[in-house]
Protein backbone atom coordinates (compact mmCIF):
# COMPACT_ATOMS: atom_id res chain seq x y z
CA UNK A 1 0.00 0.00 0.00
CA UNK A 2 1.44 3.37 -0.99
CA UNK A 3 1.63 5.97 1.76
CA UNK A 4 -0.20 9.23 1.15
CA UNK A 5 0.66 12.43 2.95
CA UNK A 6 -2.85 13.84 2.48
CA UNK A 7 -4.46 10.74 3.94
CA UNK A 8 -2.06 10.77 6.89
CA UNK A 9 -2.53 14.48 7.58
CA UNK A 10 -6.30 14.25 7.38
CA UNK A 11 -6.49 11.26 9.69
CA UNK A 12 -4.21 13.04 12.16
CA UNK A 13 -6.14 16.30 11.83
CA UNK A 14 -9.38 14.52 12.68
CA UNK A 15 -7.89 13.28 15.94
CA UNK A 16 -6.56 16.76 16.66
CA UNK A 17 -9.92 18.42 16.06
CA UNK A 18 -11.66 15.89 18.26
CA UNK A 19 -9.10 16.51 20.99
CA UNK A 20 -9.49 20.29 20.66
CA UNK A 21 -13.28 20.13 20.79
CA UNK A 22 -13.00 18.60 24.26
CA UNK A 23 -10.27 20.97 25.42
CA UNK A 24 -10.97 23.27 28.37
CA UNK A 25 -11.93 26.90 27.90
CA UNK A 26 -8.79 27.83 29.83
CA UNK A 27 -6.60 26.35 27.10
CA UNK A 28 -8.73 27.83 24.34
CA UNK A 29 -8.51 31.29 25.95
CA UNK A 30 -4.74 30.94 26.11
CA UNK A 31 -4.65 30.11 22.38
CA UNK A 32 -6.91 33.06 21.58
CA UNK A 33 -4.67 35.38 23.59
CA UNK A 34 -1.83 34.89 21.16
CA UNK A 35 -4.22 35.25 18.24
CA UNK A 36 -3.72 31.87 16.63
CA UNK A 37 -5.95 31.12 13.65
CA UNK A 38 -7.01 27.65 14.72
CA UNK A 39 -9.10 25.39 12.55
CA UNK A 40 -12.01 23.80 14.37
CA UNK A 41 -13.83 22.21 11.45
CA UNK A 42 -12.78 19.17 9.48
CA UNK A 43 -13.67 20.63 6.08
CA UNK A 44 -11.43 23.64 6.77
CA UNK A 45 -8.67 21.34 7.98
CA UNK A 46 -9.13 19.24 4.85
CA UNK A 47 -8.61 22.36 2.73
CA UNK A 48 -5.54 23.29 4.75
CA UNK A 49 -4.18 19.81 4.03
CA UNK A 50 -5.11 19.34 0.40
CA UNK A 51 -4.39 22.95 -0.60
CA UNK A 52 -1.71 24.06 1.87
CA UNK A 53 -0.83 27.67 2.45
CA UNK A 54 1.56 28.93 -0.24
CA UNK A 55 3.44 32.02 0.91
CA UNK A 56 4.71 32.74 -2.60
CA UNK A 57 1.37 32.28 -4.37
CA UNK A 58 -0.60 35.38 -5.26
CA UNK A 59 -3.85 33.82 -4.08
CA UNK A 60 -4.78 30.82 -2.01
CA UNK A 61 -5.75 29.62 1.39
CA UNK A 62 -4.67 31.51 4.50
CA UNK A 63 -2.41 29.69 6.92
CA UNK A 64 -4.47 27.91 9.55
CA UNK A 65 -3.22 25.91 12.48
CA UNK A 66 -4.59 22.43 13.05
CA UNK A 67 -4.75 21.21 16.66
CA UNK A 68 -2.64 18.19 17.54
CA UNK A 69 -4.07 15.42 19.76
CA UNK A 70 -1.39 16.17 22.25
CA UNK A 71 -0.93 17.15 25.86
CA UNK A 72 2.47 16.43 27.35
CA UNK A 73 4.40 17.59 30.35
CA UNK A 74 4.37 21.42 30.29
CA UNK A 75 2.84 21.38 26.81
CA UNK A 76 -0.53 23.05 27.17
CA UNK A 77 -1.50 22.53 23.54
CA UNK A 78 0.20 22.03 20.20
CA UNK A 79 -0.73 22.89 16.62
CA UNK A 80 0.70 22.31 13.20
CA UNK A 81 0.27 23.86 9.77
CA UNK A 82 1.36 22.42 6.43
CA UNK A 83 2.63 24.94 3.88
CA UNK A 84 4.45 24.85 0.59
CA UNK A 85 7.76 26.62 0.33
CA UNK A 86 10.33 26.77 -2.46
CA UNK A 87 11.58 23.30 -1.64
CA UNK A 88 8.32 21.50 -0.99
CA UNK A 89 5.99 20.73 1.87
CA UNK A 90 7.01 22.10 5.27
CA UNK A 91 5.29 21.85 8.61
CA UNK A 92 5.21 24.55 11.24
CA UNK A 93 4.77 23.31 14.77
CA UNK A 94 3.52 25.66 17.50
CA UNK A 95 3.80 24.57 21.10
CA UNK A 96 1.90 26.42 23.76
CA UNK A 97 3.00 26.36 27.36
CA UNK A 98 0.70 27.39 30.14
CA UNK A 99 2.22 30.74 31.02
CA UNK A 100 5.19 31.36 28.78
CA UNK A 101 5.64 32.36 25.18
CA UNK A 102 4.59 30.11 22.29
CA UNK A 103 7.40 28.16 20.69
CA UNK A 104 7.48 27.51 16.97
CA UNK A 105 9.52 25.06 14.94
CA UNK A 106 9.74 24.42 11.23
CA UNK A 107 10.09 20.91 9.77
CA UNK A 108 11.49 21.69 6.37
CA UNK A 109 12.71 19.80 3.30
CA UNK A 110 16.34 20.08 2.27
CA UNK A 111 17.01 23.03 0.01
CA UNK A 112 17.58 22.37 -3.69
CA UNK A 113 19.70 25.51 -3.95
CA UNK A 114 23.47 25.15 -3.88
CA UNK A 115 23.90 28.44 -2.04
CA UNK A 116 22.48 27.19 1.23
CA UNK A 117 23.94 24.79 3.76
CA UNK A 118 20.47 23.39 4.58
CA UNK A 119 20.52 20.70 1.91
CA UNK A 120 18.90 18.08 4.14
CA UNK A 121 15.48 17.66 5.78
CA UNK A 122 15.74 19.48 9.07
CA UNK A 123 13.96 21.18 11.94
CA UNK A 124 14.78 24.64 13.19
CA UNK A 125 13.36 27.20 15.58
CA UNK A 126 10.97 29.82 14.30
CA UNK A 127 9.75 33.21 15.46
CA UNK A 128 7.02 33.47 12.83
CA UNK A 129 5.07 31.05 10.65
CA UNK A 130 5.26 30.25 6.96
CA UNK A 131 8.08 32.06 5.22
CA UNK A 132 7.85 34.80 7.90
CA UNK A 133 4.47 35.90 6.50
CA UNK A 134 2.44 34.96 9.58
CA UNK A 135 3.31 36.64 12.86
CA UNK A 136 3.23 34.66 16.04
CA UNK A 137 2.12 36.98 18.83
CA UNK A 138 4.14 36.66 21.99
CA UNK A 139 6.93 34.60 20.44
CA UNK A 140 10.41 35.09 21.88
CA UNK A 141 12.46 37.23 19.51
CA UNK A 142 15.05 37.39 18.23
CA UNK A 143 15.74 33.69 18.00
CA UNK A 144 18.56 31.94 16.15
CA UNK A 145 16.28 30.68 13.40
CA UNK A 146 18.88 29.25 10.99
CA UNK A 147 20.93 27.21 13.44
CA UNK A 148 20.68 24.79 15.03
CA UNK A 149 19.09 22.94 12.10
CA UNK A 150 18.62 19.39 13.36
CA UNK A 151 18.56 16.75 10.64
CA UNK A 152 15.40 14.70 10.15
CA UNK A 153 15.80 11.10 8.97
CA UNK A 154 14.10 10.61 5.64
CA UNK A 155 13.39 12.85 2.70
CA UNK A 156 9.69 12.74 2.04
CA UNK A 157 6.70 14.75 3.23
CA UNK A 158 5.49 11.63 5.06
CA UNK A 159 8.71 11.12 7.05
CA UNK A 160 8.90 14.88 7.69
CA UNK A 161 5.42 14.78 9.18
CA UNK A 162 6.11 11.56 11.09
CA UNK A 163 9.26 13.17 12.53
CA UNK A 164 7.16 16.08 13.79
CA UNK A 165 4.58 13.68 15.22
CA UNK A 166 7.29 11.61 16.96
CA UNK A 167 8.75 14.81 18.43
CA UNK A 168 5.42 15.50 20.14
CA UNK A 169 4.12 12.01 20.92
CA UNK A 170 7.24 9.85 21.26
CA UNK A 171 7.81 6.29 20.09
CA UNK A 172 6.95 3.62 21.07
CA UNK A 173 3.77 4.17 23.13
CA UNK A 174 3.34 7.44 21.30
CA UNK A 175 2.93 7.79 17.56
CA UNK A 176 2.06 4.11 17.28
CA UNK A 177 -0.96 4.73 19.50
CA UNK A 178 -1.89 7.79 17.49
CA UNK A 179 -1.72 5.73 14.28
CA UNK A 180 -3.87 3.11 15.97
CA UNK A 181 -6.60 5.68 16.56
CA UNK A 182 -6.12 7.42 13.22
CA UNK A 183 -6.52 4.24 11.17
CA UNK A 184 -8.79 2.21 13.41
CA UNK A 185 -10.08 -0.85 11.61
CA UNK A 186 -7.74 -0.42 8.64
CA UNK A 187 -4.81 -2.55 9.71
CA UNK A 188 -2.73 -2.34 6.56
CA UNK A 189 -2.73 1.47 6.55
CA UNK A 190 -1.80 1.59 10.18
CA UNK A 191 0.96 -0.93 9.62
CA UNK A 192 2.33 0.98 6.62
CA UNK A 193 2.82 4.21 8.59
CA UNK A 194 4.01 2.36 11.67
CA UNK A 195 6.69 0.58 9.64
CA UNK A 196 7.74 3.89 8.06
CA UNK A 197 8.10 5.44 11.50
CA UNK A 198 10.11 2.49 12.81
CA UNK A 199 12.33 2.50 9.73
CA UNK A 200 12.85 6.26 10.00
CA UNK A 201 13.98 5.82 13.60
CA UNK A 202 16.15 2.81 12.77
CA UNK A 203 14.00 0.54 14.99
Amino acid sequence: MDPSINELLLAYARLGLDHWSKESQRVKRRARAIRLDITTKIDVAARAVTRPFEPFAATGEPMRLIPMPCKQNRVFAAFFAPWIGRDGLSFDLVVLSEQGAPFAFRFEPGSQYATTAHGYDHVQMNESLGQRQVELDGAVTPLPTRYPAFPIPGESPVTRFLAMAVSMHGFPRGVDRILDDAFKGHALKRKTYLDMTAQMLGK
Binding site: G185, L188, K191, L194
Partner: protein, 414 residues
Protein backbone atom coordinates in the same frame (compact mmCIF):
# COMPACT_ATOMS: atom_id res chain seq x y z
CA UNK B 1 -39.18 -20.35 17.32
CA UNK B 2 -42.69 -18.99 17.90
CA UNK B 3 -43.53 -15.49 16.72
CA UNK B 4 -46.62 -13.40 17.40
CA UNK B 5 -47.42 -10.78 14.79
CA UNK B 6 -49.62 -7.97 16.14
CA UNK B 7 -51.31 -5.54 13.79
CA UNK B 8 -54.43 -3.43 13.69
CA UNK B 9 -55.11 -4.57 10.13
CA UNK B 10 -55.47 -8.17 9.05
CA UNK B 11 -54.13 -7.52 5.55
CA UNK B 12 -50.92 -5.99 6.83
CA UNK B 13 -50.62 -8.77 9.36
CA UNK B 14 -50.78 -11.35 6.56
CA UNK B 15 -48.11 -9.46 4.65
CA UNK B 16 -45.81 -9.62 7.65
CA UNK B 17 -46.44 -13.33 8.11
CA UNK B 18 -45.77 -13.95 4.44
CA UNK B 19 -42.45 -12.11 4.70
CA UNK B 20 -41.40 -14.41 7.54
CA UNK B 21 -42.58 -17.47 5.60
CA UNK B 22 -41.62 -20.85 6.98
CA UNK B 23 -38.63 -19.54 8.95
CA UNK B 24 -40.63 -19.67 12.19
CA UNK B 25 -43.95 -20.77 13.61
CA UNK B 26 -46.04 -17.62 13.27
CA UNK B 27 -49.38 -16.65 14.83
CA UNK B 28 -51.34 -13.50 14.28
CA UNK B 29 -53.18 -11.18 16.59
CA UNK B 30 -54.92 -8.67 14.38
CA UNK B 31 -57.81 -6.21 14.29
CA UNK B 32 -60.57 -6.94 16.77
CA UNK B 33 -58.69 -9.82 18.37
CA UNK B 34 -55.79 -7.56 19.13
CA UNK B 35 -58.13 -4.92 20.49
CA UNK B 36 -59.71 -7.45 22.87
CA UNK B 37 -56.35 -8.81 23.96
CA UNK B 38 -55.02 -5.33 24.69
CA UNK B 39 -58.20 -4.41 26.57
CA UNK B 40 -57.74 -7.43 28.84
CA UNK B 41 -54.03 -6.66 29.24
CA UNK B 42 -54.63 -3.01 30.15
CA UNK B 43 -57.32 -3.94 32.68
CA UNK B 44 -54.89 -6.33 34.34
CA UNK B 45 -52.16 -3.69 34.31
CA UNK B 46 -54.45 -1.17 36.00
CA UNK B 47 -55.33 -3.66 38.72
CA UNK B 48 -51.71 -4.67 39.13
CA UNK B 49 -50.46 -1.12 39.47
CA UNK B 50 -53.27 -0.26 41.86
CA UNK B 51 -52.13 -3.14 44.02
CA UNK B 52 -55.45 -4.97 43.52
CA UNK B 53 -54.24 -7.87 41.35
CA UNK B 54 -54.21 -11.41 42.59
CA UNK B 55 -51.07 -13.38 41.74
CA UNK B 56 -52.74 -15.14 38.79
CA UNK B 57 -53.68 -11.75 37.36
CA UNK B 58 -49.99 -10.92 37.07
CA UNK B 59 -49.58 -13.86 34.74
CA UNK B 60 -49.18 -13.33 31.03
CA UNK B 61 -52.60 -13.25 29.28
CA UNK B 62 -53.17 -16.32 27.10
CA UNK B 63 -53.14 -14.32 23.87
CA UNK B 64 -49.49 -13.39 24.50
CA UNK B 65 -48.31 -16.58 26.15
CA UNK B 66 -45.63 -18.92 24.86
CA UNK B 67 -43.98 -16.76 22.20
CA UNK B 68 -40.31 -16.05 21.67
CA UNK B 69 -40.72 -12.89 19.62
CA UNK B 70 -43.50 -10.35 19.20
CA UNK B 71 -43.58 -8.21 16.09
CA UNK B 72 -45.69 -5.11 16.66
CA UNK B 73 -46.72 -2.94 13.77
CA UNK B 74 -46.11 0.64 14.80
CA UNK B 75 -49.28 2.05 13.31
CA UNK B 76 -52.16 0.79 15.45
CA UNK B 77 -54.55 3.66 14.85
CA UNK B 78 -57.19 1.41 13.22
CA UNK B 79 -57.65 -0.57 16.43
CA UNK B 80 -60.23 1.96 17.58
CA UNK B 81 -59.26 1.85 21.24
CA UNK B 82 -60.52 4.90 23.08
CA UNK B 83 -58.12 7.60 24.18
CA UNK B 84 -54.95 8.69 22.45
CA UNK B 85 -54.26 7.14 19.06
CA UNK B 86 -52.15 4.07 19.61
CA UNK B 87 -48.74 3.21 18.18
CA UNK B 88 -46.63 0.13 18.68
CA UNK B 89 -44.15 2.18 20.65
CA UNK B 90 -46.76 3.12 23.27
CA UNK B 91 -47.49 -0.50 24.13
CA UNK B 92 -44.00 -2.03 23.89
CA UNK B 93 -43.15 -1.19 27.51
CA UNK B 94 -46.36 -2.78 28.78
CA UNK B 95 -45.85 -5.91 26.70
CA UNK B 96 -42.36 -6.20 28.13
CA UNK B 97 -43.41 -5.66 31.73
CA UNK B 98 -46.67 -7.58 31.78
CA UNK B 99 -46.21 -10.44 29.30
CA UNK B 100 -43.46 -13.04 29.09
CA UNK B 101 -42.53 -12.45 25.45
CA UNK B 102 -38.75 -12.02 25.66
CA UNK B 103 -37.98 -10.17 22.44
CA UNK B 104 -40.07 -7.41 20.90
CA UNK B 105 -39.67 -5.95 17.41
CA UNK B 106 -41.20 -2.66 16.36
CA UNK B 107 -42.26 -2.92 12.72
CA UNK B 108 -42.35 -0.11 10.18
CA UNK B 109 -41.70 2.66 12.67
CA UNK B 110 -39.49 4.37 10.16
CA UNK B 111 -39.89 2.87 6.70
CA UNK B 112 -37.31 5.27 5.28
CA UNK B 113 -34.44 3.78 7.26
CA UNK B 114 -32.81 0.47 6.42
CA UNK B 115 -29.39 1.04 7.94
CA UNK B 116 -28.63 3.17 10.97
CA UNK B 117 -25.48 5.19 10.40
CA UNK B 118 -25.77 6.98 13.74
CA UNK B 119 -25.29 4.28 16.36
CA UNK B 120 -25.15 1.00 14.38
CA UNK B 121 -28.11 0.02 16.45
CA UNK B 122 -31.28 0.29 14.42
CA UNK B 123 -33.73 2.93 15.53
CA UNK B 124 -32.18 4.17 18.77
CA UNK B 125 -35.41 5.98 19.67
CA UNK B 126 -37.50 2.83 19.56
CA UNK B 127 -38.43 1.24 22.87
CA UNK B 128 -38.47 -2.17 21.24
CA UNK B 129 -35.46 -4.47 21.12
CA UNK B 130 -35.15 -3.95 17.40
CA UNK B 131 -36.89 -1.79 14.80
CA UNK B 132 -37.36 -3.39 11.38
CA UNK B 133 -39.34 -2.84 8.24
CA UNK B 134 -41.45 -5.57 6.64
CA UNK B 135 -38.95 -6.19 3.84
CA UNK B 136 -36.20 -6.87 6.39
CA UNK B 137 -38.09 -9.93 7.61
CA UNK B 138 -37.31 -11.64 4.29
CA UNK B 139 -33.59 -11.19 4.94
CA UNK B 140 -31.80 -14.38 6.01
CA UNK B 141 -29.36 -12.40 8.16
CA UNK B 142 -32.07 -12.43 10.85
CA UNK B 143 -32.68 -16.14 10.66
CA UNK B 144 -29.82 -18.16 9.26
CA UNK B 145 -26.25 -18.17 10.62
CA UNK B 146 -25.03 -19.05 7.12
CA UNK B 147 -26.78 -16.15 5.40
CA UNK B 148 -25.77 -15.12 1.90
CA UNK B 149 -27.44 -11.72 1.77
CA UNK B 150 -25.56 -8.71 0.42
CA UNK B 151 -27.37 -6.42 2.83
CA UNK B 152 -26.69 -7.94 6.22
CA UNK B 153 -26.24 -5.41 9.03
CA UNK B 154 -23.78 -6.63 11.64
CA UNK B 155 -25.90 -5.00 14.34
CA UNK B 156 -28.88 -7.21 13.53
CA UNK B 157 -29.22 -10.22 15.80
CA UNK B 158 -30.15 -13.74 14.82
CA UNK B 159 -33.68 -13.71 16.18
CA UNK B 160 -33.74 -17.22 17.64
CA UNK B 161 -30.57 -16.42 19.60
CA UNK B 162 -31.88 -13.04 20.71
CA UNK B 163 -34.99 -14.53 22.32
CA UNK B 164 -32.99 -17.30 23.99
CA UNK B 165 -30.41 -14.83 25.27
CA UNK B 166 -33.09 -12.56 26.72
CA UNK B 167 -34.50 -15.41 28.78
CA UNK B 168 -30.98 -16.14 30.04
CA UNK B 169 -30.46 -12.44 30.79
CA UNK B 170 -33.58 -12.37 32.94
CA UNK B 171 -32.43 -15.50 34.79
CA UNK B 172 -29.03 -13.84 35.33
CA UNK B 173 -30.69 -10.82 36.92
CA UNK B 174 -33.00 -12.92 39.06
CA UNK B 175 -29.98 -14.14 40.98
CA UNK B 176 -27.58 -11.21 40.69
CA UNK B 177 -29.77 -8.13 40.70
CA UNK B 178 -28.29 -6.71 43.91
CA UNK B 179 -24.67 -7.10 42.85
CA UNK B 180 -22.59 -4.29 41.36
CA UNK B 181 -22.88 -4.35 37.55
CA UNK B 182 -19.13 -3.92 37.21
CA UNK B 183 -18.28 -6.96 39.31
CA UNK B 184 -21.09 -9.20 38.10
CA UNK B 185 -20.20 -8.67 34.44
CA UNK B 186 -16.46 -8.95 35.12
CA UNK B 187 -15.32 -5.52 33.92
CA UNK B 188 -11.54 -5.25 34.26
CA UNK B 189 -10.31 -2.19 36.19
CA UNK B 190 -8.71 -0.71 33.05
CA UNK B 191 -12.15 -0.56 31.42
CA UNK B 192 -12.84 2.58 33.43
CA UNK B 193 -10.52 4.51 31.10
CA UNK B 194 -12.14 3.07 28.00
CA UNK B 195 -15.81 3.55 28.82
CA UNK B 196 -17.15 6.73 27.27
CA UNK B 197 -18.82 9.39 29.38
CA UNK B 198 -22.05 8.34 27.77
CA UNK B 199 -21.48 4.71 28.74
CA UNK B 200 -20.72 5.73 32.31
CA UNK B 201 -23.84 7.84 32.63
CA UNK B 202 -26.28 5.14 33.81
CA UNK B 203 -23.68 4.02 36.35
CA UNK B 204 -23.18 7.55 37.68
CA UNK B 205 -25.96 8.10 40.18
CA UNK B 206 -24.04 10.64 42.22
CA UNK B 207 -24.37 8.40 45.26
CA UNK B 208 -21.57 5.92 44.69
CA UNK B 209 -18.69 5.15 42.35
CA UNK B 210 -19.71 3.79 38.90
CA UNK B 211 -18.03 0.51 39.81
CA UNK B 212 -20.48 0.11 42.68
CA UNK B 213 -23.69 0.76 40.71
CA UNK B 214 -26.23 -2.05 40.95
CA UNK B 215 -28.45 -3.44 38.20
CA UNK B 216 -31.33 -1.50 39.67
CA UNK B 217 -30.03 1.65 37.91
CA UNK B 218 -31.11 0.13 34.61
CA UNK B 219 -34.61 -0.53 35.90
CA UNK B 220 -34.86 2.89 37.57
CA UNK B 221 -33.64 4.69 34.46
CA UNK B 222 -35.98 3.00 32.01
CA UNK B 223 -37.94 5.04 29.50
CA UNK B 224 -40.27 2.21 28.63
CA UNK B 225 -42.85 3.01 31.31
CA UNK B 226 -43.90 6.30 32.93
CA UNK B 227 -41.82 7.09 36.05
CA UNK B 228 -44.84 6.78 38.37
CA UNK B 229 -45.44 3.23 37.14
CA UNK B 230 -41.78 2.35 37.53
CA UNK B 231 -41.97 3.62 41.10
CA UNK B 232 -45.08 1.53 41.78
CA UNK B 233 -43.49 -1.58 40.30
CA UNK B 234 -40.41 -1.07 42.44
CA UNK B 235 -42.54 -0.73 45.57
CA UNK B 236 -44.55 -3.86 44.74
CA UNK B 237 -41.35 -5.76 43.94
CA UNK B 238 -39.81 -4.79 47.25
CA UNK B 239 -43.02 -5.95 48.94
CA UNK B 240 -42.36 -9.35 47.42
CA UNK B 241 -44.98 -9.35 44.65
CA UNK B 242 -43.57 -11.95 42.25
CA UNK B 243 -45.18 -10.49 39.14
CA UNK B 244 -43.67 -7.08 39.85
CA UNK B 245 -40.25 -8.60 40.40
CA UNK B 246 -40.53 -10.39 37.05
CA UNK B 247 -41.44 -7.12 35.34
CA UNK B 248 -38.49 -5.40 37.00
CA UNK B 249 -36.03 -8.05 35.80
CA UNK B 250 -37.41 -8.01 32.25
CA UNK B 251 -37.19 -4.23 32.00
CA UNK B 252 -33.70 -4.13 33.52
CA UNK B 253 -32.56 -6.88 31.13
CA UNK B 254 -33.82 -4.90 28.15
CA UNK B 255 -32.14 -1.68 29.31
CA UNK B 256 -28.86 -3.39 30.16
CA UNK B 257 -28.82 -5.23 26.82
CA UNK B 258 -29.38 -1.92 25.06
CA UNK B 259 -26.57 -0.25 27.02
CA UNK B 260 -24.13 -3.05 26.24
CA UNK B 261 -25.08 -3.16 22.55
CA UNK B 262 -24.68 0.55 21.96
CA UNK B 263 -22.27 1.93 24.56
CA UNK B 264 -20.07 -0.99 25.59
CA UNK B 265 -19.83 -3.33 22.60
CA UNK B 266 -20.99 -0.92 19.89
CA UNK B 267 -17.99 1.36 20.38
CA UNK B 268 -15.64 -1.67 20.26
CA UNK B 269 -13.52 0.20 22.80
CA UNK B 270 -14.44 -1.85 25.86
CA UNK B 271 -15.71 -5.13 24.47
CA UNK B 272 -14.60 -6.11 21.00
CA UNK B 273 -16.00 -8.80 18.72
CA UNK B 274 -13.88 -11.04 16.46
CA UNK B 275 -14.25 -9.15 13.15
CA UNK B 276 -13.34 -5.81 14.70
CA UNK B 277 -10.49 -7.50 16.54
CA UNK B 278 -9.14 -8.90 13.28
CA UNK B 279 -9.51 -5.47 11.66
CA UNK B 280 -7.10 -4.26 14.35
CA UNK B 281 -4.81 -7.27 14.61
CA UNK B 282 -4.94 -9.36 11.41
CA UNK B 283 -2.07 -11.57 12.58
CA UNK B 284 -4.57 -13.21 14.98
CA UNK B 285 -5.94 -15.07 11.94
CA UNK B 286 -2.66 -17.01 11.86
CA UNK B 287 -1.48 -18.62 8.65
CA UNK B 288 -4.56 -17.39 6.74
CA UNK B 289 -3.93 -13.75 7.61
CA UNK B 290 -2.87 -12.96 4.04
CA UNK B 291 -6.21 -14.17 2.65
CA UNK B 292 -9.48 -12.27 2.95
CA UNK B 293 -11.34 -15.60 3.10
CA UNK B 294 -9.42 -16.31 6.28
CA UNK B 295 -10.63 -12.98 7.67
CA UNK B 296 -14.22 -13.67 6.68
CA UNK B 297 -14.13 -17.11 8.27
CA UNK B 298 -13.91 -15.22 11.59
CA UNK B 299 -17.30 -13.63 11.02
CA UNK B 300 -19.02 -17.01 10.86
CA UNK B 301 -16.96 -18.61 13.64
CA UNK B 302 -19.20 -19.94 16.40
CA UNK B 303 -16.95 -22.25 18.40
CA UNK B 304 -13.61 -21.43 20.02
CA UNK B 305 -11.18 -20.55 18.56
CA UNK B 306 -13.62 -18.80 16.16
CA UNK B 307 -11.31 -19.20 13.16
CA UNK B 308 -8.47 -17.44 15.00
CA UNK B 309 -5.01 -18.90 15.41
CA UNK B 310 -5.34 -21.60 18.07
CA UNK B 311 -2.12 -20.83 19.94
CA UNK B 312 -2.72 -17.08 20.00
CA UNK B 313 -6.33 -17.65 21.00
CA UNK B 314 -5.44 -19.85 23.94
CA UNK B 315 -2.55 -17.71 25.10
CA UNK B 316 -3.97 -14.20 24.66
CA UNK B 317 -7.67 -14.18 23.79
CA UNK B 318 -9.18 -16.88 25.97
CA UNK B 319 -8.08 -15.13 29.19
CA UNK B 320 -9.63 -11.88 27.91
CA UNK B 321 -12.93 -13.45 26.85
CA UNK B 322 -16.17 -11.92 28.14
CA UNK B 323 -17.76 -14.77 30.03
CA UNK B 324 -21.42 -13.76 30.29
CA UNK B 325 -22.34 -14.36 26.67
CA UNK B 326 -26.07 -13.97 27.12
CA UNK B 327 -25.39 -10.21 27.09
CA UNK B 328 -23.67 -10.13 23.71
CA UNK B 329 -24.67 -11.46 20.29
CA UNK B 330 -21.50 -13.50 19.86
CA UNK B 331 -18.06 -14.07 21.32
CA UNK B 332 -16.42 -10.92 22.68
CA UNK B 333 -13.20 -9.95 24.39
CA UNK B 334 -12.13 -7.21 26.79
CA UNK B 335 -10.28 -4.76 24.57
CA UNK B 336 -8.48 -2.95 27.43
CA UNK B 337 -6.92 -6.27 28.44
CA UNK B 338 -5.81 -7.05 24.87
CA UNK B 339 -4.55 -3.53 24.32
CA UNK B 340 -2.40 -3.80 27.43
CA UNK B 341 -0.95 -7.10 26.19
CA UNK B 342 2.62 -6.13 25.22
CA UNK B 343 3.15 -9.37 23.34
CA UNK B 344 0.23 -8.64 21.01
CA UNK B 345 1.59 -5.13 20.40
CA UNK B 346 5.00 -6.60 19.61
CA UNK B 347 3.42 -9.07 17.19
CA UNK B 348 1.76 -6.24 15.29
CA UNK B 349 5.11 -4.42 15.08
CA UNK B 350 6.90 -7.55 13.95
CA UNK B 351 4.26 -8.83 11.49
CA UNK B 352 5.28 -8.86 7.84
CA UNK B 353 2.11 -6.94 6.90
CA UNK B 354 1.24 -9.37 4.10
CA UNK B 355 -2.44 -8.72 4.68
CA UNK B 356 -5.29 -7.82 2.34
CA UNK B 357 -6.05 -4.12 2.25
CA UNK B 358 -9.50 -4.82 3.65
CA UNK B 359 -11.97 -3.29 6.07
CA UNK B 360 -14.97 -4.72 7.88
CA UNK B 361 -18.24 -3.51 6.37
CA UNK B 362 -20.97 -3.02 8.95
CA UNK B 363 -23.84 -3.31 6.47
CA UNK B 364 -22.62 -6.56 4.92
CA UNK B 365 -21.09 -8.35 7.92
CA UNK B 366 -17.94 -9.20 5.99
CA UNK B 367 -14.52 -7.85 5.10
CA UNK B 368 -14.22 -6.16 1.73
CA UNK B 369 -11.05 -5.18 -0.09
CA UNK B 370 -10.44 -1.45 -0.42
CA UNK B 371 -9.95 -0.16 -3.95
CA UNK B 372 -11.44 -1.13 -7.24
CA UNK B 373 -9.50 -4.27 -7.94
CA UNK B 374 -12.12 -6.80 -6.91
CA UNK B 375 -15.64 -7.76 -7.78
CA UNK B 376 -17.09 -5.30 -5.27
CA UNK B 377 -17.15 -1.54 -5.16
CA UNK B 378 -14.69 -0.04 -2.73
CA UNK B 379 -16.20 0.36 0.74
CA UNK B 380 -17.37 3.79 1.83
CA UNK B 381 -16.29 5.35 5.09
CA UNK B 382 -18.83 6.93 7.40
CA UNK B 383 -18.84 8.65 10.75
CA UNK B 384 -21.13 7.33 13.45
CA UNK B 385 -22.25 9.24 16.53
CA UNK B 386 -20.78 6.56 18.77
CA UNK B 387 -18.75 8.11 21.57
CA UNK B 388 -15.36 6.49 21.47
CA UNK B 389 -12.14 6.10 19.52
CA UNK B 390 -13.72 4.06 16.72
CA UNK B 391 -16.35 6.41 15.35
CA UNK B 392 -15.46 5.86 11.70
CA UNK B 393 -16.58 2.64 10.07
CA UNK B 394 -17.19 1.23 6.60
CA UNK B 395 -20.14 0.09 4.49
CA UNK B 396 -20.44 -1.52 1.08
CA UNK B 397 -23.53 0.61 0.35
CA UNK B 398 -25.96 -1.89 -1.16
CA UNK B 399 -28.28 -0.46 -3.81
CA UNK B 400 -31.98 0.00 -2.99
CA UNK B 401 -31.43 0.31 0.75
CA UNK B 402 -31.71 3.56 2.68
CA UNK B 403 -28.70 4.47 4.79
CA UNK B 404 -29.39 7.39 7.07
CA UNK B 405 -28.29 10.00 7.75
CA UNK B 406 -26.47 10.22 4.42
CA UNK B 407 -24.59 13.32 5.52
CA UNK B 408 -22.38 11.05 7.63
CA UNK B 409 -21.25 8.96 4.65
CA UNK B 410 -18.16 10.32 2.95
CA UNK B 411 -18.84 10.73 -0.72
CA UNK B 412 -22.64 10.37 -0.34
CA UNK B 413 -23.47 13.55 1.54
CA UNK B 414 -25.56 15.11 -1.22
Amino acid sequence: MRILVCDDEQVQCQRTMKAIGSRAEVSDLAGGQMKSALTVLFERISKALNGDAKSEEWECPNEFKGYDVAIIDNNLTALGLEGARLTGETIVGYLRAFTDIPYIISLNKNVHVDFDIRYLFGDYQSLADLALNTKHLRNDRLWDPEFREEFAPWYWPRLADAAKRRREQVRFLETRFDEPVWKALGFPMEANEYLSLRAKSPLSSGEREPQEARFDVFFGGTRTLPPAEVKTLRKLASDGVGGARGAMFRIAAYELDRWIRRDVLGTQDVLIDPPHLVAQMPFLVGENAHDIHGWNAIVAGVEPNFGLDRTLFERHLAPARFLHEMWVPGPCFWWPTLKADEDLTERFFAADGDWPDAVFCEDASRFVVVGNGGEHRSPLEFETELEGSWGRRYITYVDDYAYTPRSRIFGKAR
